[in-house]
Each structure stands twice: as C-alpha cells, then as structure tokens.
Amino acid sequence: MLRNPSIAIGGGIVVLMVLLALFAPYLQTIDPLSMNPLNRMKDPSSAFWFGTDAYGRDLYSRVLYGGRTSLTVGFAVAVLSTGVGLLIGLIAGYYRSLDGVVMRIMDGLMAIPAVLLAIALSALLGGSVLNVVIAIAVAESPRVVRLIRGIVLSLRERQYVEAALISGVSRSRIIVRHILPSTFAPLAVQATYVFASAMVLEAILSFIGAGIPPTTPSWGNIIAEGRQLWQIKFFIILYPALFLSLTVFAINIFGDGLRDRLDQRGDRHL
C-alpha cells in the first residue's frame, strides 16, 4: 500500500495535519483566543511564529486550532454524506419504483451550486460547526447517491445476484451480501474527495461570513478575518491558506492513489 507514492505522500501529509490538530493544546505558544492590542499585526518572529492578526492574536496557535475545526468539518461531512448517500443510493438502485422520485430530488439538489445551497442552509440553520457540517453534507450527498446507484444498477443484473434471487434469498439479504461489499472501494475513494471538497466549502462559507462563528477559529475564518489586511500584512492569510491548500491537495492525491490501488480492473491478475 505504501509503495504507491500518491498514497504515501498524501497520507503522510494528512496524518501530519491530524497530529498537529490533535496536539494543538501542547503545540500552541499563546492562547489562540486571547487578544492583545499591543501586539497587533506583528510580523513573524521568535515570539509570534506566524505573526499576529488585527486583534493581536497569535496566528500560529490559531492555525493549529483552525486545523481542528477544518479537519473535523471535512471528516464529519465525509462520514455523513457517504453514509446518507450510500443508504439512499442503495434504495434508489435496488428498489426501482423509488428510483425516479429519489433521483429527481437528487438532480434538483445538484442543479443548485453547492456553495449557494450551503449558504442557504447555513443561513437557515444558523452558524455553528454542526450546522455547517449539515449544510455541506446536504450539498455533497447527491454525488455519492448517484455513484452508488450506478454501481448497484450494474451489480443487480449480475448473474450471481439473479442466482441468489432465484434460490429465494431475500432482497435485503442480497443487498447486504452481494451488493454492499462491492460498493466499499469506490465509496472510500469518493469519501476522500468529499472530505477535501467539504474543507474548501467550509472555508468559502466562513470567508463570506456564513460559516463557523468567529469565536471558533477555522482556516476559513482566519483567512476571512485577514482579508482586509492582506495587502499590508500578507502573512495573515498566507499560513492558513497554505495549510488548507496543502491538506486539500494531500487528501486528493491520497484519493487518487486509493482509486488506483482499489481498482479491480488493474492488471494485477495478469
């Protein structure tokens, strides 16, 4: 598994980011929420590694804690939307009578740009980490549904599924035994893309003020707060943006590697 460079490098960076976020309380230098007007907009130095923001808060500590929020949102959305997407996709794919209705709803959701949908939902639900997660998950799920439905549609025509049907195996058991296991590999790959895309969406929501409230630092709202000052003190947005981009990139190449690795059609059997 680690012989695949995409998986090794991407996975390595993701693990590093997770560790930084997990151990933020031990790695922080100054409380990320404490403001100090005397230290406003300080350049990076040995006291303030990444400098300070307009309120004199230490950016290094804020970026560490921001990672906690951003990664949590990404992970939660990935789990939630793959879970929901899998369930709906299985139902739509296997119970043909529900397919039309379910898929038209999904088409409707997909017709609205994900950002707009997330803004609308998060405005409706109010800003909190949980609500942001729900808003993004709703926007991301339809893609998972469509993926799973497609897989189920091809699997249900397989001869071994028909053989099971003929021998009286119940539909729910056919789904669990013959269909579900084949969806795991593509689902895992899709989950990584959802993870990355959710982190970007979170940043966008925070950037326009519809995301995580400013009391909880996230990479998105750190960038958002620095947007008025970036022409004077560019580092205020540089570090959170760098962490965000690097993490998204790492997750995406990890997903690519995973896809190559799990692809059954590869020439492993030749």
């Binding site: 071994y160 003929i166 021998s167 009286g168 035994r177 296991p181 084949s182």
Partner: protein, 612 residues
C-alpha cells in the same frame, strides 16, 4: 471443391512446391515476463517450438482448447503481442523473415501481405466511422488506391463479400449492421490489399450457425478465386473439418499433431486428438438410439451410466401455457417513440419428471427470455407457468418464492454466476439458509452437493477464482441442486466451456438427471449437444415454437423449413461430409414477419409443427 484446392491437396499426395509456400514457420517460441517491478517471477512459455507451413490456396486449421496457444501463435506471427513478450524462431512470409523486420516494416506487412479477421467484429471495427471509410483507410494506408479509386474499390470489396446494396452500405456504421454483415466487412477489410495470407482467429465463434455457414462459404469462395492461403484458428472441430486441408492440433503451447484433415479426423495418431474428437457431439450420432447417451471419451464418469429410457409416470412438473413476453424498446427513428418487441409469443409446452426438453434457436429467438420468465426474473404479459402443479404466475411473491424452490437455474457464464467475494461454501449454503436450514445442516448439505458434482469437500473454503470454468459450472449445478428442485433450467450452460469440459459437464447433468429424476429444460444453440442429451426438442424462431417433438423425429424428420435450415447449417466434424459450396445463404435483414396465425399440424407421437 475447386480445381485449385485439389491441385494443392493433402501434403502426402502432392509434393510441396517451394514457390507455393506462403508462410513457413520454424521453431516459433513465445515467452512472456510474468510479475512486474520487484516481484518479477521470470518467464513463462506461451508457445514452444511451433513449426508449420501454409501453401497458396491452402487452408490450415489450428484447433485446440482455450489456453492451448493458438491465438498466441497468430499474434506472434503478426507481432502484435505486448512488449513483455519475446518471440524466438523464424517466420518466413514468401521468403522474407518477419521476425527481423523493424516495427515500421512490420506495420506495412500487416493488412497488406497478411490480412486478419478476429472473433468479435463489433470490437474490431471503429464504431464512429462508416464502414466504407474504414475499408478506404486500409487501402490508403498501404497505398493501394486513393481518392475516388479507393471509394470505388471499397464498394467492390463489399460487393465481393456479398453484402447487398454495397454502394449504400459503405455509408453505414457498424452498429447498423448485423453480426454476420460486420464479419463480412471485416473480411472485406482484410482482403483490401489482396493479401497472400489470411489469418482468421475464431471468425465465426460469435455467430449463429446459419450465419457461420455463410461466412465459411464466403471464405472458401475467396480462396478459390484468389488462391489466398488461410490460417483458420478455431476451437470448433466441426468448423475445422469444414474448412481445412491440413489440421494442426495444439495443446498447452505445443503441437500435438499435424497432418492432412482426413488423417486427423479419421486416423488420429495421438490420444489427445482422439479424446478431443470423442468429446465432440456430432449430429447424426444419435440416430436410432432411444434416449440420451453420455460421452464415452472421458472415462471417469458417464461410461458406467446409461440413462434409462424415460419413464413417464406422473403429470408434468413444468407446464407453460400460451406465454407471451414483450419489451418496450426505443424506436430506431424517434427518440421519444417506443415500440413493442414481442420476444416470446404464445409459447407452450409440458415437461415431465426425468425428461430433458431442449429449446433450440439462434440468438434473438427469445429462448433466454423464455427461461428468465419461467424463473420469475422477467415479467410476463400473459400466459401461465405451472411449477409442480402450482401456478407460479398468479401467486403472491412469498408463495411464488416457495413454489420456485422446485425450479432452479444454471446460467451460461460460470465466471459471472458466482459472487467472486464469497467462498464456495457460502454460495452453496445461501439457498438453504434462505429457506431456514441451520448453518450446520447447510454445511453438511454443501459437502454432499460438492461431492455429488464430482469435486471434493476441501474445495469448499476456496474462492471462485481458484477454479476453472468447468469446475465453476459444476459448483453452479451444485448450487442449483441445493433446494432439491424438480426442474433445472440450463440456459446455454455448457456453451462457454471447452469441448472436453463440456462433455464432462453434460455427462454430469445426465447422471444427476438419472439419479434424481430431474426434469431438465436445456436451452442451447448447439444442435449437436441437443441431439445428444435431450428426449424432446422444441425449435424456437422469432419468439415462437415452430416445431416440437421427440428428438429423433425432429432431427430425422424435420418438418419446419427453419428446423431444416438450422440442421443443415451445422458443420460436421468430418471432412468427408462437407457442405456443398453455396449450400446455405445467410438471410439478410429481417424477414417481413408478423407471426403466422397458422395452426399446428400434428405429425403423430407428439411431433407437432407450426404450419407456415
């Protein structure tokens, strides 16, 4: 038989004129690197020390079962193998050694000096280009003709392969043509540059028998006209006997036997050749025999067993009455309009315990749809299906599930009908646990079943990919038997298997039938197999049964024109009983056919035919 062919008859009678030698191969050995990266496992020999020659106007048939190296031989000659393969030996085409040519020179030879025809014409033709253009491309590539001349030549070629309205057909795309027509286009492409050698790799395997007869006919005609040397690769002994002057039998990458056709078929020197020939069912073998007969060749099973003549004691275990199935399909002309395709039209028959009823017909005749409807996999429009006395079509889902315990199915493709992730034991016990058998009891049954189909109990914990096609089909049969059914529906159950394996699996089916008194609905396109194991035969054509009756009656006194056509198109594995040239013509297009509302004519003894 043309004068050309007789002039270059069997090698033993006519001394070979070296000037006539088109292709001569010596010590051809192909190996492939296995494994990759740091898991390199070394080399595997695919073919070893292959040597033969083909003369002008001669057809060399190469036969062998899957994995015998017959296709690799062709690809080695054409140098179309992947980079990981290395080819050693000498391949001389008209005195020119192909193995020493550069890739560019070789590309000039391919399509120009050597033409090639593959098994599946749909995948060998470019789906987005009109067929005429594809032929022109070949002409331009080899600088035979260009511009208007190429266009004219393309039409000539299509005409030559007997495609009607050739000028109009050049503008059509591959999907608009039937399988047989596509293969004709492939032949036209292969002939575009008047090659000296034509390599045909299973060119008729994907085609129906009547279409196959037309293609074989065409190849013979072309050879008679141009004196093209043909290398004909196939697994079908009947086809080989039909086309070949000389025959080369291959097994595991080596030549087993090589000689004139008559000698190979009538006086085979090698045991393997004899076994191969014995596994091939021949039409007419069963003349005068009362019931199905197992194959004697394999020795292990079968020989001991002689299925008793049918004892008809009870009423039918499966009764199909006036069954009709139709599909709504997209109209060819309008995206929004749909037309009804009537796949099965008013089909009815009875099947009794211990009896085998074969349903024969060509692709698209509705035989698989019929099987699927009987199994409840396909909704029916009208008609009734009675299984073991219960009407399966008018029950609730739960009742139907119980009723269908009595009828189980074996599918065509043994590689697709077992879940690759489940151990064999799980596939075998699944039907049992679904009907409430405890897991311990189910396991015991699985052991009994797998032994009953000739495999051993320690194989139960393996995964499907560890088995060969024949073994998998045995496992599928075991699974079908798990619920102790009274009827087994076998849809082309042996057509994906090699002949020797096919014979074994057929023997197994006959054995199980005799032991358990099973009724077998055997759906097949293979007339010879059908003759071997069925008690009664029903011929399907365009969704209807056109003739049904005892096997001997249908085969020896076919009453319907279609049945006669089907029977006469089957190639016999006997070179002395070849078909006459232009005996059978392929029917082009779709015959204008609304079902004849004609009545049945009873010819006695249950032999009935639909009057045309």
């Amino acid at each position: 038989m043309t004068t050309l062919r007789t002039a270059h008859g069997p090698a033993e009678t006519t001394p070979a004129d070296p000037a006539d030698e088109v292709l001569s191969i010596d010590g051809l050995t192909t190996s492939i690197r296995t494994g990759q990266g740091d898991r390199r496992q070394g080399e595997q020999r695919l073919i070893e020390d292959i040597g033969f020659s083909v003369r002008r106007g001669q057809t060399l048939g190469i036969v062998g079962e899957s994995g015998s190296g017959k296709s690799v031989t062709a690809l080695s000659i054409m140098r179309l193998l992947p980079r990981s393969a290395t080819v050693a030996g000498r391949v001389m085409l008209k005195g020119r050694n192909l193995t020493t040519l550069s890739d560019r020179q070789m590309a000039d030879v391919r399509g120009d000096r050597i033409g090639m025809i593959f098994q599946e014409p749909m995948t060998s033709l470019n789906p987005v280009l009109p067929v005429g253009l594809q032929i022109e491309e070949s002409l331009r590539r080899h600088k035979v003709a260009s511009g208007q001349a190429a266009r004219r030549r393309a039409v000539e070629l299509l005409d030559r392969v007997r495609i009607p309205n050739a000028a109009r057909r050049t503008a059509e795309y591959p999907h608009q043509l039937s399988g047989g027509m596509r293969q004709r286009v492939m032949i036209a492409m292969a002939l575009a540059c008047n090659p000296e050698l034509l390599i045909a790799d299973e060119p008729t395997t994907a085609l129906d028998v009547t279409t196959q007869a037309g293609i074989i006919d065409l190849l013979k005609q072309i050879q008679a006209d141009d004196g093209t040397a043909i290398m004909f690769i196939t697994h079908d002994m009947g086809v080989v006997a039909e086309v070949s002057d000389d025959v080369l039998v291959m097994r595991s990458g080596r030549i087993v036997e090589h000689g004139p056709s008559q000698q190979i078929f009538h006086r085979p020197a090698e045991t393997y050749t004899r076994q191969l020939l014995n596994s091939v069912p021949r039409i007419g073998d069963m003349r005068g025999k009362p019931g199905p007969a197992p194959f004697a060749s394999i020795g292990d099973d079968g020989a001991a067993l002689a299925p008793s003549p049918l004892e008809v004691a009870k009423g039918p275990v499966l009764r199909v009455t006036d069954l009709s199935v139709s599909f709504r399909v997209r109209n060819e002309t309008s995206r929004f309009r749909r037309t009804t395709l009537r796949a099965v039209r008013g089909v009815g028959f009875d099947l009794r315990a211990g009896e085998t009823l074969a349903i024969v017909g060509e692709s698209g005749c509705g035989k698989s749809t019929l099987a699927r409807s009987i199994m409840g996999l396909q909704a029916v429009d009208s008609g009734a299906i009675e299984v073991a006395g219960r009407v399966a079509t008018s029950m609730t889902a739960a009742e139907a599930r119980l009723a269908r315990k009595a009828i189980q199915m074996v599918f065509q493709d043994p590689f697709a009908s077992l879940n690759p992730r489940l151990r064999i034991v799980d596939s075998l016990t699944e039907p049992l646990t679904a009907h409430g058998v405890s897991s311990g009891g189910a396991r015991a049954t699985a052991v009994r079943l797998i032994e009953e189909v000739g495999l051993s109990a320690e194989m139960l914990d393996r995964l499907p990919h560890q088995f060969s096609g024949g073994q998998r089909q045995r496992i599928c049969i075991a699974r079908a038997l798990a619920l102790e059914p009274e009827v087994i529906v076998a849809d082309e159950a042996v057509s994906a298997l090699d002949v020797s394996v096919q014979a074994q699996v057929l023997n197994l089916l006959m054995q199980l039938q005799a032991r358990r008194g099973l009724a077998l609905l055997f759906i097949s396109h293979d007339m010879a197999v059908v003759e071997r194991l069925s008690h009664r035969v029903a011929v399907m054509y365009r969704g209807q049964i056109v003739e049904i009756g005892p096997r001997a009656a249908v085969f020896e006194r076919p009453a319907h024109a279609y049945t006669r056509r089907l029977l006469s198109a089957v190639p016999l594995p006997d070179p002395s009983r070849r078909h006459k040239l232009s005996g059978i013509e392929e029917l082009f297009g779709t015959p204008s056919a609304e079902p004849s509302t004609a009545a049945w004519t009873d010819l006695g003894d249950g032999h009935r035919v639909l009057a045309a």
